[in-house]
Symmetry: C2
Subunit: 306 residues, 2 copies
């Protein structure tokens, strides 16, 4: 039996202590803790890393503080378009959805794509047709309505600007990586995209290799950041390749990708990564990243700022 472990993130960006109240900070920390505990509960019961990352991400999706699931931002048309993906490091199975609405937990729908279809990646109206066929849990639009998000859209709707999340530069995404007692790892990512998003933009979150990757042979990775740069840099798989092919430690690989390669490209954000040995890296080149991890038998770590 291995020592199990789980790490999560709730987005990165310009998250400054100076613009945070104590109450808000406590609310974020509670939410991160709840998500870690939801995942750890699975791992404690000798459940799979795959189940653990799904449960942790569902917890974050159900909390309106984060830009995923319930707290998703509004598109230009006043709708919600959510993306998610999940990957099992044991067998490289993967599932992803992009541009879906109404679905309560996009990460669970991504898992259904992985397990109940021959496909990996479904998008838009076609994906929603499958959601209805599979009885994926859907909610009315008012479930996804939050006053704060609506005001964010109202502010910039008539501009050409698109915002990654509520503050000036905040990359709203949630994600989890986990190692179970059987020695398997997994990763999952979910997002509500960009406020005032147009043109069916797809970010890195639903892209296996860019926003999410897991392979027992290397590591499990979930990203959050300016998606376009993460796609061009194939970030999640780049970390895995630096570990597997170049022999870097997990920490070195994450550092190289986030604080060297991405910075040179101009890509702001961060990622969480974990490997079979229980190493964990939470790395970001932005002001802050909502993050946390918990290893079996150790104290929980929670962080927001640099």
């Amino acid at each position: 039996m291995k020592q199990h472990a789980i790490a999560i993130h709730g987005g990165a960006g310009t998250i400054l202590k100076s613009s945070m109240t104590d109450e808000k900070e406590a609310a974020y920390k509670n939410a991160l803790q709840a998500a870690l505990l939801a995942g750890e509960k699975v791992l404690e019961a000798q459940g799979s890393a795959l189940d653990a990352v799904e449960m942790a991400v569902r917890s974050l999706e159900d909390n309106e503080l984060f830009n995923a699931g319930k707290g998703s931002v509004f598109t230009h048309d006043g709708k919600h378009e959510m993306d998610a993906s999940i990957m099992d490091g044991k067998n490289l199975m993967a599932g992803a959805v992009a541009g879906i609405d109404k679905v309560k937990n996009p990460v669970s729908f991504a898992r259904m794509v992985m397990e109940k279809t021959e496909h990996v990646f479904l998008s838009g109206a076609g994906a929603m047709e499958l959601a209805r066929k599979l009885n994926v849990q859907q909610m009315h639009d008012d479930y996804f309505f939050t006053q704060q998000r609506f005001e964010q859209l109202a502010e910039i709707r008539n501009s050409d600007k698109m915002q990654l999340d509520h503050s000036d530069k905040k990359f709203g995404t949630v994600g989890a990586v986990a190692l179970d007692v059987h020695g398997n790892i997994a990763a999952a990512t979910s997002t509500g995209g960009m406020t005032n998003k147009k043109f069916g933009r797809v970010g890195d979150s639903p892209m296996i290799g860019a926003g999410t990757y897991a392979n027992n042979a290397s590591c499990a990775v979930s990203c959050t950041g300016h998606g376009e740069f993460f796609i061009r840099a194939v970030v999640a798989y780049d970390v895995a390749c630096l570990v597997e092919y170049k022999g870097l430690t997990l920490a070195q690989a994450c550092e190289k990708v986030v604080n060297d390669k991405l910075v040179k490209l101009g890509g702001e954000g961060g990622l969480i990564a974990l490997d079979k040995a229980g190493n964990i890296s939470l790395v970001f080149n932005s002001e802050g990243m909502y993050r946390g991890y918990k290893r079996q038998g150790e104290d929980m770590y929670l962080g927001i700022y640099k």
Copy 2:
């Protein structure tokens, strides 16, 4: 000035000499030759690798023999949903579109996404909104109608079967990689997807890292095959990482990915790859792959079978 070079593919799969007529074979070879010449013309005039792969792929998209652009297969709903992507190895800029219809040359639209928006990847109805805004050339549905494709759909429409292309197992995709005299490389891929496709399925073709990748530091790659496996294996970027991080030659890297890793995963198909030194690899694990390449000052190579 470097020696310029270009390579193309028109899909892989069960392509058998025994089921091919001389006429059909000649038609395919003519089409491959025309695409190579379209790309080479750009390179001869000291144009960019990016222009060359776009022109070569446009030529293949305009030919109804291939499952991309004009020759795209029908979805379950009797429509066409096309995907394409393009990447510039000089600066890692990239553009991609998924689930679009009516657009004459999806590869050129992908390039417009790269050059005229802040985004990399647009999909579905939202992408089509941008196509109209940018006056991307659109055609009536009858342009995309080909009797052969329609009969393919009619055969399997009432089944749950999905076909990758017209024969039993043919992965209809087109793609190009090129090296220009300035020493830059680029890659592009375009596809009409799967006959009887449902649920907004997205394959590897529009995914940077999976179906397409280009980086002067390593290589340019365009894939064709059973997309789900190519996504899970992050094929295009895997080739690049094996070259850059593990020090394999381009040929060794392509061989490892296509004839070892993909085979173990169960993924059928192939890829074309090229690097700054002008090395070219055309590798597939299926019965055949429509393919060809042309290096400056050398004879053209065209191939179909193993």
